[in-house]
Amino acid sequence: MEIFAGLAAVLTDPILIFYVLLAAVVGMVVGAIPGLTASAAIAMLLPITFYMEPLAALAFLYVIGKSGRYGGSIAAILFNTPGTAASAATQLDGYPLSRRGLSSKAMKVATISSVIGDFTGEVLLIVGVGLIAAIALKLGPPELFAVYFAAFVVIGSVIGKSILKGLASAALGVLIQMIGLDPISSEERFTFGNFDLTNGISLVPLMIGIFVLGEVFAQLEVRGKKTEIVDEPGTADSRARNRLTWAEYKPCLPHVVRSSFIGAFIGMLPGLGSAIAAFVAYGEGKRRAKNPEEWGKGALEGVAAPEAANNAVSGPSMAPLLTLGIPGSTIGAILVGVFLIHGIQIGPTLFLTSKELVYSLFAAGLLGIVFYGLIGYYGASFVGRFILKIPTDVLYPVIFLTAFVAAYSSRGNLFDVYVMVAAGFGGWVMRKLDFNPAAFVISFVLAGGAEEAFRQSLLLSDDGALIFITRPVALGFILLGIGAVFFRARSLNR
């Protein structure tokens, strides 16, 4: 087993261990900062890694991706502002838990679930890298569209009270996604002659605006009214309340296992990524839960499901990347560049030419999971207690400033800052009028890839939309999606 050789190589290299530890910390911190996503951090740190050893550089960025996906949950739980798009689903239940004074408990659940999900994904990658790559290769545009179609069903799970307003929010998300160049014909759409709009609206500033600025505005409104912290954090009572027992975590486990596999599967598919995995796992978890009415109001399972899924993406997304050069996530796309810069040719020959490097990288990933798991489990509750002691008049201005920095730094483009501010007001108005920001963002995320895959499929097909029926895998996912809609409609009627 090459992985043991890899582990031995990693564990006997103190400099590499240091980089992995550093990456675990850096990832968690940038992940936790609202709006500063792991992929933005990796993009910023990328030039530094050009001067590092190839293995150290790859391990450093790979582990930042892992711990960043986890770190996003900290901000989602504490401030209702997801640190990354991947943790936008976590806030649905994480924040209500926080308001009941259970932030540390929520974070412990997030940590354990992330670690289990990440570990599952990594093990699947190590044992099944060849198989995963073979499957990924068979999935063309029709299959991808079918998966997107099935994923669209999850929007239903976050729609909330008003179905009509939820659907309207989702439709708005699709509309905003259409801005920019048409993915097939490269024609301009909805740009109104504005040059900056030709590039479309980027997810990062949009998400920071909707969730982070929107939340700051909401907090601004309730200023004067004392924020209801249940009681002084740090008291013996609060500590006792936040202790996580096995009896509490046990119901989460089935959700964690299912979500890990959902995340791992979505990770294999190019272009979907952690945010979609988290929402699909949340939707599927809510559908199967024994207590669906508690989801969205502070169910521990509602934190566990998306957190396991978004981290499970990390490992399997490496399989198509390493063997076929197809990145399964934004972070993966950046890693391709790292291989390129260090002169390592990714592709089927990688396992012949650089086997040692690849397995050492997987081993470094496992080590990184252990690091961020330990730091997270013991540190997150401390961070939570510390942050809750900071007065909101200090905290929210700081978050407000970070949002601006984060929006600008993701591409170094001032237009993104305008987008963020506009999205901030939009998100605030949506919340005021009971529209649904989560449905808006998830449909925005899904619509781009879904449209591209749909139209590519039609170009590939000899008989139009029949291509989705004649390809068995595509048909399977389409039926799955229709089945889930049917099931949900029936349970709503009851």
Partner: protein, 322 residues
């Protein structure tokens, strides 16, 4: 390397060791780091040229070259910024000139390679190539052409985006051979490679360097260029196989704001020529599956002009179809 060394190298290069220094070169004395705007994401194909040149530029220049990635809108975001920069030689742009040219022809852009920029030099070149899946029935371009002729409009071919270098180059190949086939755009080189390997399409046009390491998964039928690629040297060209081609490729070119002084431009061109000739540069490029291909500013401009002429009818055809 300090400036004295830099001058000595330049003097040696111009083979005038005892004569006064090459006047033009000496007149360009950059004092501050030079920002090289790269209008694509870090880690892409064009970026790898940028990283290679910055890694070795200190052997010739006394100030560092700093890559500033400004991605967006198929490279036009960065190009617009570079065109508006102060023409003092401290801000230049390195880009895939082929896709810049074609984008400016296809869309209404505020900037274009000739009116908004002064072309400093070409440092590399990426050629388009025709690939099929490993288990494809096409063993040669002749097989493919024959089948496409027998089934007009039935074959599906992929490229990296409408109006991009590989789309126009592929369409040029189809036109030159009187073929009709349905194109399917994919996003970027790795996506089209996966589509070819997975036989989602019958054939694909993309950069020849995408095939490196995938010899068992796909077959490159031909290179769309006048001469063979230096790295992928066993791929025969279209002409070698007796097929007409349209010379659309992607030269990697340094651009400076249009109004930059002649003296700075000439000095910069000379410095870039030296950097491109460094063995270290070739070594780094070889590691990444590329090779240096220097052309002076005037030669690079002539080449782009020729490409513009070749592409014009194809672009018109694409515009009328959409």
């Amino acid at each position: 390397m300090d400036r004295r060394n830099f001058l000595r190298v330049s003097a040696a290069a111009s083979a005038l060791t005892l004569a006064p220094l090459n006047a033009a070169f000496a007149d360009w004395k950059p004092r501050r780091p030079i920002n090289v705007i790269l209008p694509y994401k870090a880690g892409g194909g064009t970026d790898s040229f940028g990283r290679a040149i910055t890694a070795v530029s200190d052997k010739v220049l006394s100030v560092p070259l700093v890559i500033v990635n400004k991605p967006g809108s198929s490279g036009i975001t960065g190009a617009t910024e570079a065109a508006g920069a102060r023409p003092d030689g401290n801000t230049i742009m390195l880009t895939s000139a082929g896709s810049f040219l074609l984008t400016s022809m296809l869309r209404e852009t505020k900037v274009n390679p000739f009116d908004s920029f002064r072309i400093v030099a070409q440092i590399g070149n990426l050629s388009s190539s025709l690939m099929v899946p490993a288990d494809s029935p096409y063993q040669s371009i002749d097989d493919l052409v024959a089948d496409a002729k027998a089934n007009p409009g039935k074959l599906r071919w992929g490229h990296t985006g409408r109006g991009g270098v590989h789309h126009v180059s592929g369409q040029g190949f189809l036109n030159a051979n009187g073929l009709k086939a349905q194109d399917v755009p994919f996003k970027g080189g790795s996506a089209i490679r996966a589509a070819v390997i997975g036989a989602q399409v019958d054939f694909g046009f993309t950069g020849v360097q995408q095939a490196a390491g995938f010899e068992n998964e796909l077959r490159v039928l031909g290179l769309n260029a006048g001469s063979r690629d230096k790295v992928m040297s066993d791929v025969p060209t279209f002409t070698e196989q007796g097929h007409a081609f349209v010379d659309i490729s992607s030269p990697i070119v340094l651009f400076a704001p249009k109004t930059m002084d002649d003296e700075i431009a000439v000095g910069m061109e000379a410095a870039i020529k030296e950097i491109a000739a460094l063995p270290e540069f070739a070594e780094i490029m070889a590691k990444r599956g590329n090779s240096p291909a220097f052309l002076s500013g005037a030669e690079a401009e002539a080449r782009l002009k020729a490409m513009q002429e070749q592409a014009a009818p194809i672009i018109d055809q694409l515009k009328s179809e959409s």
